[in-house]
């Protein structure tokens, strides 16, 4: 590197001696620094080995053709077999035309036993060690609806005499704050009212988790760990297939069941029969009768989220 020719305009720039030796020394340190950087970042390379180009380049779910989806699902099923040792069947369940799903819970009947929490945990292939579930039950003192006075950490015999129990899960809001805030449209509301997440599109920024007023969203802080024999093999792309680390997930009203006409797992597991689920657009449905005959209310109504989840006392 030669010193710059000194024109009158360049006089403000300093002249440097011993350019060649200094250049070599600087170059050596720069190379050392680069090598140190690569070494420091090496754990990423090991992690990158487990991903494929297909997975990296996969488009948003709504942009995939039928053939694309077939390929993606085949890849996911193979990956599940390889990582977890279980044969699973991942469907692509689309909304049934003419349905809008609504859920209701009878708070006079719920006794906080938590079987719904456990059923969700098993049905949706959650990580075992954390007992993850989409449902949380709040033990509330009778006489108030203020969650500030409630507690989720109760155990023991239920129901306690002076308490009632409030299970909370995703409300599948009609104006979901989580959908508005997602920067990449990885979450959206489908025609039957269910708010879904494309786990292969989510970038894991957790803005939706901050925006949800109902603590409905969960983040995969690590890869879920489930023994092969406990994996529920009836899966769907947008609901209970085993999610990768670093993405957000949420209750999908068990769309892998409900879009096939079945009841959600939490409802089937409830021993007291406090839960009611159905298609609000069907005039003869159970949920319609609840909304027409019971004094229902919703959580945090003042936020304007318009939940599709109702509570009532009987």
């Amino acid at each position: 590197m030669q010193p710059t020719t000194d024109s009158p305009a360049n006089r403000s720039l300093p002249v440097i001696e011993n350019v060649t030796r200094r250049a070599v020394v600087k170059g050596a340190f720069a190379t050392l620094g680069a090598a140190a950087f690569v070494a420091a970042a090496s754990p990423i390379r090991n992690a990158a080995k487990s991903t494929t180009a297909d997975e990296f380049l996969q488009q948003h779910y709504q942009e995939l053709s039928v053939a694309d989806k077939r390929a993606v699902i085949a890849r996911l099923e193979a990956e599940t077999k390889q990582k977890y040792g279980a044969d699973v069947e991942i469907g692509d369940d689309r909304p049934i035309p003419g349905t809008k799903f609504v859920y209701a819970i009878n708070l006079s009947v719920c006794n906080g036993n938590g079987k719904c929490v456990e059923a969700c945990h098993k049905e949706n292939n959650h990580d075992r060690s954390t007992h993850q579930s989409y449902i949380r039950v709040i033990e509330m003192p009778k006489g108030t609806l203020d969650m500030e006075q409630g507690s989720t950490t109760y155990t023991g015999t239920v129901p306690k005499d002076d308490k009632f129990y409030l299970p909370v899960q995703c409300q599948q809001c009609d104006e979901p704050p989580c959908v508005d805030v997602c920067p990449v449209q990885a979450t959206w509301k489908e025609a039957d009212g269910i708010v879904v997440v494309d786990y292969n599109w989510c970038i894991g920024c957790r803005y939706c988790e901050a925006a949800c007023p109902y603590h409905a969203r969960r983040f995969n802080w690590k890869q879920p760990e489930i023994p092969a024999e406990e994996i529920n093999p009836n899966q769907s792309y947008l609901s209970n297939r085993i999610r990768p680390a670093g993405v957000v997930e949420k209750c999908t009203y068990c769309l892998h069941r409900t879009r096939r006409g079945q009841l959600p797992a939490c409802l089937e597991a409830c021993p007291t029969g406090a839960r009611v689920f159905g298609n609000i657009l069907d005039e003869s449905s159970n949920i319609r009768w609840i909304l027409e005959n019971k004094r229902v209310y919703i959580l945090k109504e003042e936020l304007g989220t318009k939940p599709a989840f109702f509570y009532y006392f009987d």
């Binding site: 709504q62 699902i73 049934i96 035309p97 938590g114 005499d161």
Partner: protein, 229 residues
Amino acid sequence: MRKSSSYFLHGLAVAVCVTALGAGWQWMDDVESSSPTSDTTFLTSAESAVGGLNVPSQAAPPAMRFEVLVRRPEGPPKIELITNDPLGRTTSVACSTCHSIRQPNRDNRSPEMLDEFHQGMQFDHGRLACYACHNPEDSDSLHGADGTVIAFSDVMILCSQCHSSQAIAFEHGAHGGMNGFWDLTRGPQTKNNCIDCHDPHAPRYPKMIVGFKPRDRFLERDKPHATHN
């Protein structure tokens, strides 16, 4: 006008143009790509057979309607005896085994007053007398308030005569839970009858113990001994 003001206006104009361009482009993008109904037509029922699983997105014709099956008791309760009969066969006792050869004693109003059998039976069902539900004429059946004989397998009718609100709720799927399908064009639904959950002599739903709790980091659970009263 000072030059700096004109540069300021320059800058503002640049900003407005860029924002308008960007917003317009994104609006066009949104109009094309987002549409709440587009995803339901994305897959036809023929195409939605993915991964070997055929998931029809159209409902079956209404004529194909499955049942709501309500479980029923088989009949009057029978008690298996510990001992076998002299021929080595298992024996069981029906209500009529004893009650067909005795006169009903309508003065007995609680289990404590019974001295020959049914000791230790828990009774906590208001101030009902035994023969308010049990048929004194035929111990293998029940009877309603107007005397109508009700078979044991129809016990729900008996419960409903006083607990009509729960009965109506039950009819509408709002009491007692269910298993199976919400969409009866695709599969049946099974429901319990009253006495599957409620012991008719002590019908209050039993307390339970919380079995499964989330294990959160940094959130301590209550200690199990903390029982309130």
